[in-house]
């Protein structure tokens, strides 16, 4: 009964959010809020997607940048080859990200802890090196992108991208929420607490991890796909920048990974702080703030913001009285 009511509240909230975003794009004239807001939305999508594997399953993925970059370059290659519209680019990026997630999962998910994390960094660097040597998309020098004309009802491309990213956030959050409340989520939590025990009691651990890795990968790549259009430019060292990995990881862990709202809160808080700092001080300082916050939270508040706000999550997520 309450679960049903929760669902209604959630979907109503999502609808209100999208309508608010859409009307904002129609009313507000200035482009800057959308320019900054897009980045924050992108971080929400990344942090939520990251926490599906990193939070629920406890596999620390350092390779967010691999999936992000793959999303960017899928979109770029497709756009350059066929001039495909944005929706097709995003869908293709999701498919490629999911395939990559499957491959990464098969190769690395039998590794535990730090080995998995290092392996994901390795994949990111290897893929980046391939893209650097791929002439068609500009190689190491990068590639300029000419945006196509904007579609109605939007009057500027940035506003449209803002709405599209908001849509991606809603999709990411609803998938994360579904997983959290389903058998998949409970299985992932079980294997996070004790993989051997989970396997012994019949949880299909490898299958669940593969599913988590594929979904997480697809969502990260999809969130990255519009980035080339947003920047009107793409180059390997920024598309595969390790700071995407540290941001996604930090925002998810700072928000707390026991509930989907954690990464959302973490990304909003850190994303807006970053935007503010980048404008007022410098972009180096905002990475510093991110790093310090990450270390402070990991040391002092292991369950993140939601753990501080609602102590009962500590009981539920930790599984210990």
């Amino acid at each position: 009964m309450t679960k049903h009511r929760n669902s209604i509240v959630f979907w109503a909230g999502a609808a209100v959010f999208l309508i608010a975003v859409l009307s904002m794009t129609q009313i507000v004239r200035n482009e800057y809020p959308f320019f900054a807001g897009y980045v924050i939305l992108q971080f929400i999508a990344l942090a939520v997607a990251w926490s599906i594997l990193g939070g629920y399953a406890g596999y620390v993925n350092f390779g967010t940048n691999a999936f992000f970059g793959v999303g960017v370059y899928t979109a770029v290659a497709l756009f350059k080859a066929t001039g495909a519209p944005l929706v097709v680019q995003i869908a293709a990026a999701a498919v490629v990200g999911m395939t990559l997630g499957f491959g990464v999962g098969l190769l690395t998910l039998r590794m535990r802890g730090i080995f998995f994390s290092i392996a994901t960094i390795a994949l990111a660097i290897i893929i980046e090196t391939f893209v650097m040597n791929w002439r068609f998309v500009g190689g190491a020098a990068g590639i300029q992108i000419q945006r196509p004309p904007v579609m109605a009802p939007f009057d500027s491309y940035v506003k449209m991208l803002f709405f599209v990213q908001a849509l991606l956030v809603v999709i990411a959050v609803s998938i994360a929420r579904y997983i959290q409340n389903s058998r998949i989520g409970r299985g992932l939590q079980a294997l996070r607490d004790d993989e051997l025990a989970a396997e012994c009691t019949g949880v299909p651990t490898l299958k669940l991890k593969l599913v988590a890795c594929m979904i997480s990968g697809a969502l990260i790549s999809a969130a990255g796909a519009p980035a080339a259009m947003y920047l009107q430019y793409a180059d390997p060292s920024s598309a595969f920048n390790l700071s995407y990995s540290v941001s996604a990881l930090a925002m998810a862990l700072i928000g707390g990974t026991a509930h989907w709202i954690g990464p959302v809160l973490g990304a909003i808080l850190l994303g807006s702080t970053q935007q503010l700092l980048a404008v007022t001080i410098s972009s180096e300082v905002n990475v510093l703030v991110l790093g310090i916050m990450l270390v402070l939270f990991v040391v002092g508040a292991p369950k993140g913001i939601i753990g501080l706000l609602r102590p009962r999550y500590r009981l539920r997520a930790g599984g210990k009285p």
Binding site: G58, V60, L107, G113, I126, E128, A250, V285
Partner: protein, 291 residues
């Protein structure tokens, strides 16, 4: 284009490079290999040491190797502190240490990187010494003397650490704690203090290794990212905690990188160590001389 001479030159340079890689990796071989600390910040510590050496060389004109030796005690203390914080917050509490421990060191690495950028800027920095910039000719190919110096010091450092770990009392205690912590506790020894000391040694070695890093080539703040692949590749390929394995694995990596560099060009070089790391993890996760 391709010739035996070229290949031979690449192999020789690769062996020199490999010994240098061994020197930058032995610390990790102790901290990660023996102590099981997920020390992702090891390469960041390394680059930090290089900047320390740069600072001493720049302001007091101290020879980079001496400067490296001078910051070694500082890095030893730094290592003691880092392990103490890690132990108090993660190892002692036990639960969920994996995820948070990795994130902790990842965060530390990023903080160090940004602090270096804020202090020194993003430009490349290099040191000056009499042996930098000259090279020896052997018929067709030349070997830079800086490579030879780095090779000799690196080899000495690695062998010294291997001897220390296998012959001295403290070294044996460190290996014992890696084998069976509980047994040590039952013998009345304090495993935490031994591990803390070992982590200090592993970090102190970085003083010299950092000097070698900046002698071999100019450094930049984000250089640690490339060395995550190299150091972990060497340590995993070696077999966790094996110092002699570290030397062998490092030489294999050095030769592989050098040959790829000669045959395919520099743009493929960054991927070599990571590809080898993935290969080892997939095929032989216990490494060459695994414990």
């Amino acid at each position: 284009m391709f010739s035996m001479d070229l290949l031979l030159g690449a192999v020789v340079l690769g062996v020199l490079l490999g010994c240098f890689y061994a020197a930058v990796s032995v610390g990790l071989s102790v901290s990660f290999g023996l102590l099981d600390v997920p020390h992702v910040a090891h390469p960041a510590f390394l680059v930090l040491a290089s900047y320390g050496v740069y600072q001493l060389n720049e302001s007091y004109d101290i020879d980079p190797l001496l400067a490296g030796l001078a910051i070694t005690p500082l890095f030893f203390l730094f290592g003691l502190l880092a392990y103490r914080v890690y132990y108090e917050t993660f190892e002692r509490r036990g639960s969920d240490a994996g995820v948070r421990g990795i994130a902790f060191f990842f965060g530390i690495a990023f903080i160090i990187e940004v602090l270096i950028i804020l202090q020194f800027g993003v430009d490349q920095r290099s040191v000056s010494a009499t042996y930098i910039g000259k090279s020896w000719r052997f018929g067709e190919f030349r070997i830079p003397i800086r490579q030879l110096v780095a090779f000799a010091v690196a080899l000495a450092l690695t062998v010294l650490l291997a001897v220390y770990l296998s012959k001295t009392f403290m070294g044996r205690a460190i290996r014992a704690v890696a084998q069976d912590e509980e047994a040590l506790r039952l013998m009345g020894a304090n495993p935490v203090r031994i591990k803390q000391f070992a982590f200090g040694i592993a970090t102190a070695v970085l003083g010299i290794a950092g000097a070698l890093l900046i002698i071999v080539a100019p450094v930049e703040p984000t250089l640690d990212r490339a060395y995550i692949g190299r150091t972990f590749c060497v340590v995993v390929m070696a077999g966790l905690g094996s110092i002699s394995g570290t030397l062998i694995a490092a030489i294999i990596l050095g030769v592989a990188e050098s040959i790829v560099l000669t045959l395919f060009g520099a743009s493929w070089a960054p991927a070599i160590s990571f590809a080898m790391l993935l290969g080892v993890l997939a095929v032989r996760p216990q490494g060459l001389l695994g414990r």
